[in-house]
Symmetry: C2
Subunit: 372 residues, 2 copies
């Protein structure tokens, strides 16, 4: 098996922290043995700290971040109910696709790429549609856009709406306060700012979300991601039972990732992502490169969207970085494709030497194209 | 993180092969980088050998074995269509639960625990119900029962029925010939006879199954396991695109697991499981213990169900083995619970020294209870 070393500075996955690589190689445990249940308890404690919540309804889903989106929609929404989906890029678009599969009445609100939502416009949408669920990404990684979610949960609850938030990319990369912001369902990603391998998706529900789940008229259409059944494995109710085999080595990896966050301290982790973001833009700015997101307050620190200047071959820059430095720079995702590059400053990789390398690669690649 | 060493001889997961533990710690690759795509191609080749098929519609799902069941039902069955489900234990029961979520017209055929199906009775069910799909486990691990599937695919196709087979537990543990037996959809487990960690679920579809998928009237209800979308990542169609982030370290693990099978040779792997099964029953027979499955031809070699003799405390035997040898012996699953024990002889652990230890643990634990 040929696995060359790459420096992954695209939109994710990122390089895995060495402590996490070691942790996932610990011996296998049975899916219901005491030491594994203790690790699951510790994971829940770590997730509560990471998400800044005291909810007992917290767990890992055993699949990629998509599973969080699917579980959120499948459990919170009943067929025929209205869901307002903020589409600021690929993830919003996918959420709308999914919600239609679950036979929701989907109101898809498409924003211009790189433009964040204001609380006022979201309040207006809530008042107009009074949806059962509002979906929004804290960070939309396809465009590097960060939404300010403070006050949104309170606004939702005035209209009896549940707030479903995608934090796959932003978790640990930007401040997030689940309880203070009254978020009802939040999911995150392992392979972004947590520097773990994909496969363990942090997932959280509020009391309100659980109440909705327990009073559904129809069963959750997807069996694997039925949170009443998953919650039994994670001790949400009085008695523990297994729903499906946990992804045990991915659990180990997440247990270690959460310990690493706790060791550094969440505020310090947020600050480091912010510092590296500013260092990156200082370097790119000197090259004359511009961010897609105009408003500095709405730039996602951990995934940065860079406008490709007119006349520049975006793909040639990416190829130069990979050929010369084994350095991954990402393209945009549809429809932006080669209109932007994306640079991830994700967890373990959000470090000055990597930021400097990215700047160097851009400078050299642009020089090669004669860009002044 | 406290992860004591355990010898896992229950129904799975099993101890991970050291080569696989090493492989999953290889450096992370981007989800669309050439070296990862090459590994995915190699995995497909390995899976074709493992499953004895030439189908190009083969891949890994990024979740536990349950995902295979969910994907099989979600993709093959349309709402309102009839599915006959052979319930010989927990897995058949789960499949019926799932198929109802997907709004199938479910005919659940419950068999006595430990009794296999005959081709004649299955042919009769097909003729009576003419279902869109027939679901059956090759090996039902909750009761240690092995079904003979030869001829079943041909019988299904006479009634325009698709054959969906669960081989989570039996793959690599018992002979299986996907193409010769005309199976339309097969899924398997990583953490059983392949000795990999859970999280990479082998999944295969026949041309017939793909034809059904491509001519559905309604979209697949579950987005994550829509095989048209997953197939794009695994190069089933002309153009590759990513559906969701692959579980990359779990892919590495499966790549290595498949190499280990190929190194030993599939026939030798099957023979080793059979040999260890006979060695186990020789030892247990001398203690007066009896298998749940009466017919030797229908005993699953890799998961063995042992009747708990009258007056014996099943739980005390399990506790003795764990306390004395850190050895996991499993209980039955509902409704059998403490009516049986289950011994897994799974992949890397299917070795004489483990079989001898199991026999020793039973002898000592039974002696402690005064069982003659």
């Amino acid at each position: 098996m040929q696995v060359p070393r790459k420096i992954l500075m695209g939109g994710g996955p990122t390089n895995v922290h060495p402590r996490i690589l070691s942790a996932q190689s610990l011996p296998m445990l049975g899916y219901f043995q005491e030491p594994l249940l203790a690790i699951m308890d510790e994971i829940q404690d770590g997730l509560r700290y990471l998400m800044q919540t005291e909810s007992r309804y917290i767990c890992l889903l055993g699949a990629s971040g998509h599973a969080g989106m699917e579980a959120g929609i499948a459990n919170l929404l009943e067929p025929g109910e209205k869901i307002v989906i903020i589409n600021q890029g690929v993830w919003g678009w996918k959420a709308a696709q999914m919600a239609r599969r679950y036979r929701g009445d989907v109101v898809e609100v498409c924003k211009e790429p790189g433009v964040a939502c204001t609380l006022e416009e979201l309040e207006e949408l809530l008042a107009t549609h009074k949806p059962a669920v509002l979906f929004i990404c804290q960070g939309e990684s396809s465009t590097g856009t960060l939404n300010d979610l403070s006050g949104l949960g309170q606004a939702c609850h005035q209209h009896n709406t549940l707030l479903l938030v995608d934090a796959v990319c932003s978790i640990a990369g930007s401040p997030l306060f689940t309880d203070a912001w009254d978020i009802d369902c939040l999911y995150a990603g392992a392979q972004k700012c947590l520097s773990a391998p994909p496969g363990a998706t942090p997932f959280m529900m509020s009391e309100r979300a659980i109440h909705k789940l327990q009073n559904r008229r129809q069963p959750v259409a997807c069996y694997l991601f039925d949170m009443e059944l998953n919650g039994r494995y994670w001790n949400w109710w009085q008695e523990r039972s297994v729903h499906n085999t946990g992804l045990i080595t991915n659990w180990y990896a997440m247990r270690e990732a959460l310990a690493i966050v706790a060791d550094e301290g969440l505020a310090a982790v947020w600050q480091r992502h912010s510092d590296m973001h500013h260092m990156l833009w200082q370097g790119l700015g000197q090259l004359g490169l511009q961010p897609l997101v105009k408003d500095p307050a709405h730039r996602l620190p951990c995934v940065n969207a860079i406008q490709v200047p007119p006349g520049v071959d975006a793909r040639a820059v990416i190829d130069y970085a990979m050929k010369t430095y084994s350095l991954e720079i990402a393209t945009g995702l549809p429809p932006l494709n080669t209109a932007i590059w994306r640079i991830g400053l994700l967890g373990y990789n959000a470090a000055p030497h990597n930021v400097a390398l990215v700047t160097t690669a851009f400078r050299e690649a642009l020089q090669e194209q004669g860009y002044a």
